[in-house]
Symmetry: C2
Subunit: 326 residues, 2 copies
Amino acid sequence: MSIKIGILGYGNLGRGVEQAVLHNSDMELVAVYSRRDPASVKTVTGVKVVSTEVLDEGKEDIDVLIICGGSATDLPQMTPKYAAMYNVIDSFDTHANIPVHFANVDSAAKASGKVGLISCGWDPGMFSLNRLYAESVLPGGKAYTFWGKGVSQGHSDAIRRIDGVKDARQYTVPVDAALEAVRSGKNPELTTREKHTRLCYVVAEDGADKARIEEEIKTMPNYFADYDTTVNFISEEEMKQNHSGLPHGGSVIYSGSTGDGSMKHVIEYKLTLDSNPEFTGSVLTAYARAVYRMNKDGQSGARTVFDVAPAQLSPLSGDDIRAHML
Amino acid sequence: MSIKIGILGYGNLGRGVEQAVLHNSDMELVAVYSRRDPASVKTVTGVKVVSTEVLDEGKEDIDVLIICGGSATDLPQMTPKYAAMYNVIDSFDTHANIPVHFANVDSAAKASGKVGLISCGWDPGMFSLNRLYAESVLPGGKAYTFWGKGVSQGHSDAIRRIDGVKDARQYTVPVDAALEAVRSGKNPELTTREKHTRLCYVVAEDGADKARIEEEIKTMPNYFADYDTTVNFISEEEMKQNHSGLPHGGSVIYSGSTGDGSMKHVIEYKLTLDSNPEFTGSVLTAYARAVYRMNKDGQSGARTVFDVAPAQLSPLSGDDIRAHML
């Protein structure tokens, strides 16, 4: 019997989950749920599109609903709302609001007897796991997280809002010297500027003042002002040809010691991803299996990746994973 | 209330656990248990040494016994034996015998109502986790495990058994070209010889035939014959000065894809360890916390790292780890 998956929201992440479900033979994609007119949404795999009005009745035959909305406004509403009806999983990544979001999902899911797993993906998600494993094994060490080289959609959008900008792509790039210092176990103190640079490709409108655009980017508070930023103006054709993908990745590097402190140990977890949304969708899909199993075991309430035993993620039996992966 | 830890066996690994317990303020080391005459064993931290005859009575006031014996003959006997009396954890690493060992520990621990966690450390252990996480997220990819640069005690011992050898140290060294091919996502097929080389430092006895020793090393079946091996003869002083540590490490590199296979993703988990036994001891100690908690929750039977939710490893509360590590 397959695990029945529903996808709520059909942007890049929703399409990533759609692809991931195909790679998991114990799962079946039931429907994509959309707030748009279903007739206007065409899925890659041809799976049916259903209005969220139908989903809201709480009677859809799905084991886990994978919620692919934005963290700013969608997920704080959606995840508790749907945890009251279905097992759910999301990729909520507004760090400061995780405790509140967890509490909201927890009370909704406890009341409904469902499981709601929040903040899943790679950061938060796989990177969080690696911070926790490393800190537990080597207490008192120092965790460094580097992102990139990869496209930041938030930063790309921020540039697009500048007057005279037709299109933009922003890459977050970790600084090699900082990476090397951390990998060597030196435990350096690093400023924001020392850890990452920002590389921007911009298509300007005809006749736009490029110097002014570059200045507006480089001085933009929060997004760019604290970084060394490079701005390259390119043609629309070049943008399409060289910058249409959504690669990303990064490293969690943990540096700790044992004994009297003289024995140093460095743990690095590194991701190099051709497609950020397809990888994130794959993580969500693996954890959907765990959500289904935990709920079947009688669990309810909010969970994070920290609460999931790794064996729950695999379609293989305990005997098989012990024989082949241990 | 502290978690009361006992250590069985006081070699390099036992001393590594002794150091690790000091770094975990919610734990207390009760005793080292030894088959040797307790009066003849001096511990680094001064913790008391108790005969295994006392341990065998089954009445020691310990929450978890960390068994630091060898996989060849000690652990297959010891872990089931003591799982009948105490919560236990071991680092059993004879891959082919894991299913049998698991079954033996499982029946003993179920009968006693205790938890027995086997095959913990970094490989098996942290590396196993990374193989499982990666395969679950990107089904159908390929996992590569590289070891080193690091000291292999088994290979060092094998050299020491050769006639005319006074001392020896063997380093396992991963081949850079193989590492790079795997990291690039090329999914190469690699022979044993292509993945690792073996680097040996040997102190020969006065007047020994070095050419014969070198030949015996390089042609030794299983240990060296399938590898490109380099043998360096050095003095006792040089051995002591440059090769007295037990560094190790390695990488699990997983290469998979999403969608139609055109999007490639590479996941790497890399360890660089100054002291193999101190790091392994630290992993065992973190998992001892989980064993204690699982048993307190009413669980019994055999477990592996695959069965342990990451949050169980941390002394911090769920709220704290969500707020600071997610």
